[in-house]
Amino acid sequence: MKQEKRNQAYNQYVEARIPKTKPWPSLFNSFWVGGLICVLGQGIDELILYIFPYMSQQSAWTWTLIVLIFLASFLTGIGVYDKIGKFAGGGSIVPITGFSNSIASPAIEFKHEGIIYGTCVKMFSIAGPVIVVGVVASIVVGLVYYFVGLI
């Protein structure tokens, strides 16, 4: 009991001493980098529609995502994306490029442990939870949609 109190007091003391990050500069950086990635996506979309005028908007969107995912994986491979991430934080994590980076980086890192036990197993070590949550959420939404439709 005495120990718990001591630990609690110590944790409070440490909390007060921790250097704080300045929120505004980091928010600003993540805002403009994140925005830039979105502008880039829009640009790619328009470019695809310009080159292939008969393509539907739906497929153009899909191709845009594929291009963005490729670009982010490529930048991860040549060691650039982690520098962007260090600067922009959430701005480069939240867009789909961040998702691509989170799959490509462990895949590269663990290639020495072999294709199956290294790359394949570790590839989803960071993005895995996001995929699980996404799939579960879509099941729930699908069920709701189905039952609402019945009424």
């Binding site: 718990e4 630990n7 944790n11 921790i18 990050t21 922009a88 934080g89 890192e109």
Partner: protein, 348 residues
């Protein structure tokens, strides 16, 4: 319970070697290191192999600087941060040396030196080698995230160094003497944040330093340098506060290897961490300063965070351990040095 022991025969560090990565070489202690690698892979396929090669070079370097050959070494005491301490044991395999693997996280340098001094002081071995090291990239992948992941580091985080150091202990030869060791208890003040190792380890350092002064009757001013391992900026500040509460005031002769390892520009948040921090600073800067006689007596307290990723994910707090050793410049004149009487510890 007596935690401090004195070595009457005064084992000496007769050979020491430090090897670091390029970023570390560009840091504060750059000019003191024996060897700076050109890149982190060190010509190997994997970072684990690079760490091992670094380890091997540290051990051979220390042995040859002592003027000995591997055949003259009776025992190797070593440890590192990787699971099952593979860097140490694989190095011992390649040298075919009798080997004791030790794990004290980042306090390993003091742990091996203290046990080594006991064995040398007792006359059981003629020469033995103590070594430890760490590698940024192997530690990151074991404890944190892949290198290429675009995430940000929190302000309390520390940078695991790519560095290794080795010392050869013997009674014969020249070099700084190890005169005392204080073995530390495992102390846990309930810090859970794995990105705040300094705060997790500071209480153990405070406990060991307090015990050392209490049992020896010495004061901080009796040392030219009091140096902790890798508490970092925040941890070192906390340590000063914790000791002040216990009535010990650390002066300007106190410093932390981790806090001063990198320059401000190198942007490592709270400083350096890893076994390599204290190992490389001891086997370069501290030993060289003692040999030159610029400093006479050093209290060296590497600090270790005994964390495991499994325990942390299960919500356990991070225990710390710190061992202290006293190093003194080898002065022929003062061989009849007054032996300090170790008083029984006062009750808290």
């Amino acid at each position: 319970m007596q935690q401090t022991i004195e070595f009457r025969n005064r084992p000496k560090i007769i050979g020491s070697y430090s090897i670091v990565g390029p970023k570390e070489g560009a840091g504060t202690f750059g000019e003191y290191f024996d060897y700076v690698m050109k890149n982190d892979l060190f010509g190997e396929e994997t970072y684990e192999k690079a760490e091992r090669k670094m380890f091997e070079q540290a051990v051979t370097g220390a042995i040859s600087k002592a003027g000995l050959t591997t055949a003259k070494i009776n025992l190797m005491l070593a440890g590192d941060l990787l699971n099952q301490i593979i860097s140490s044991s694989f190095t011992a395999r390649d040298f075919s040396l009798p080997y004791l693997g030790m794990f004290g996280a980042c306090s390993t340098m003091a742990e091996t030196l203290a046990i080594g001094s006991v064995l040398i002081n007792g006359g059981h071995f003629d020469n033995l080698v103590c070594a430890t090291g760490s590698h940024f990239s192997t530690a990151e992948r074991q404890f944190r995230f892949p290198l290429e992941l675009g995430n940000q580091r929190v302000p309390t985080s520390q940078w695991t160094v790519t560095a290794a150091g080795a010392s050869v202990l013997s009674l014969e030869g020249k070099g700084p003497q190890i005169t005392m060791a204080t073995f530390g208890k495992v102390v846990d003040f309930g810090i859970i944040d794995v990105n705040n190792m300094g705060a997790a380890m500071a209480p153990s350092a405070a406990e060991t330093i307090f015990t050392h002064f209490n049992e020896t009757g010495r004061k901080p001013t009796d040392y030219d340098l009091i140096v902790t391992g890798d508490l970092g900026k925040l941890g070192a500040e906390i340590l000063v506060d914790l000791l002040e509460d216990k009535g010990i005031k650390l002066g300007p002769n106190y410093s932390d290897c981790g806090h001063s390892y990198f320059t401000r520009k190198q942007d490592t948040m709270c400083g350096a961490s890893g076994c390599g921090v204290s190992a490389s600073v001891l086997n370069s800067y501290i030993v060289k300063k003692l040999n030159k006689g610029e400093i006479k007596r050093v209290l060296f307290i590497p600090t270790g965070a005994l964390m495991s990723t499994t325990a942390s994910q299960q919500g356990e707090s991070i225990p710390g351990v710190s061992h202290a050793i006293v190093l003194e410049a080898d002065e022929k004149k003062s061989t009849k040095a007054k032996t300090i009487k170790i008083s029984p510890p006062k009750k808290e």
